[in-house]
Subunit: 250 residues, 2 copies
């Protein structure tokens, strides 16, 4: 049974047995972190790199006026701060949304990983997919009305969680509040609530008690014009993109 990191990185291409073993040896020493705790704060420059192995965390910034913007969800298999190798300090914070387990990986171990070309390439790939996901977040905030925006976000989470095996029957754990969803989508809590009700009325989803249930995947994808290309799923051709959207032209 491979760990989440291996599973995710093999999205690009399969590893040799040695690479897989090295990865397994590297991902050891899980610790638990409670919900709503900081893993790294803005301004810090941690010695270890942090890998989420279970639970939901997020990258976010808090503005001078106290409002918050979340710009990325970190799921099991995601690195928090590979970049601190190069950039001196964190320019944003990383906090847990739900209880998480985290592995602290020393810089040295990461350097050892990057000596293996296949792994180095996979890490590079993961970074680029993060960047691509961020670009889509800009599109989402800039050009989609609230209903589509939230729907698109749900499609993205569904696709990403499916890859790491955390979706069953189009349903997944999402133990976050509507206020946190608002901080993610750039919407007020009240408006998030209205949007969720709309999506429920449309029989697209149900959401409550920390669980998201997508009732009609195809309709949700159509509604939000979800095109999973930007996730560069590669090997992971799961059912989420077996029916690619034809280009809409109006």
């Amino acid at each position: 049974m491979d760990n989440v990191l291996t599973r995710k990185l093999e999205g690009l291409s399969p590893f040799s047995q040695e690479d897989r073993e090295l990865l397994a040896k590297t991902v050891i020493g899980e610790r638990t972190v409670k919900a709503h705790k900081d893993i790294i704060r803005e301004g810090e420059s941690p010695d270890d790199v942090h890998l989420i192995t279970s639970g939901f965390a997020c990258r976010h910034k808090i503005l001078p006026d106290g409002t918050r913007q979340i710009f990325a969800y970190l799921l099991p298999g995601d690195f928090c701060d590979l970049h601190v190798f190069i950039l001196d300090v964190m320019d944003h914070a990383i906090s847990t949304l739900s209880p998480c387990t985290v592995v602290d990986i020393p810089r040295k171990a990461i350097l050892r990983l990057t000596e293996r070309p296949a792994i180095a390439r996979a890490l590079w790939w993961a970074t680029l997919v993060d960047e691509s996901t961020l670009r889509e977040a800009v599109v989402n905030m800039g050009r989609r009305p609230a209903e589509e925006r939230v729907a698109h976000f749900i499609c993205e989470l569904l696709a990403r969680l499916e890859v790491i095996g955390l979706v069953a029957d189009n349903m997944f754990n999402l133990p976050i509040t509507q206020a946190e969803l608002g901080d993610t989508m750039g919407l007020s809590t009240v408006h998030v609530n209205r949007v969720l009700q709309y999506l429920r009325r449309q029989k697209l989803i149900t959401f409550g008690k920390g669980s998201m249930n997508v009732l009609d995947v195809e309709a949700l994808k159509r509604f939000s014009r979800f095109n999973p290309n930007y996730l560069h799923l590669g090997q992971h051709k799961t059912k989420i993109d077996r029916n690619p959207q034809p280009g809409h032209r109006t």
Copy 2:
């Protein structure tokens, strides 16, 4: 006289004479591209990497309904598509906003660059700064009202252009239309116009005939709560951040 690329990459740390020479040898063979032309289209996987050496280009996506979202400005010294080394295809397009000059650099030449540790590190750094800038774009779209959003964008451009020596007297060339500004900020053309008028009335800027003039830099930074940390300017401590904003707490 160093080229724009060298000048930009030395923001992290100075290069040896050999590294500087290698960079100079690599950046040869400029070609001109007219305004509003695609440099790379979505879906392509170019053989060469493209470096902007003068003019403004942008990363953008066009949505099914025809609306467009620009999510990054590419200035002289910026690479368009270093990532196509790893990701198979472009998930977005890159087009010129103004007339540009571009250097096409073959994959091989890039590989030769990355054999020099200092250069490899600098390229890695540049990629991470791009990502950080993208994060700030999400914050900007999600949590700032239109006036601050546009003001913040102007501060960012000012800081980035200053580093490469394209600002004189707080004034810089910006030959783009208000519609393009709208596609950048997630605003309608009409609203961009209203916002620009507001900023003019406040005596913060003037903008017209392809030229942006920041009348009161400090006031503009204060107004948009601009904190340049995310640009990781490093060596480039120019006057833009000689007066860092104290943390506002309300």
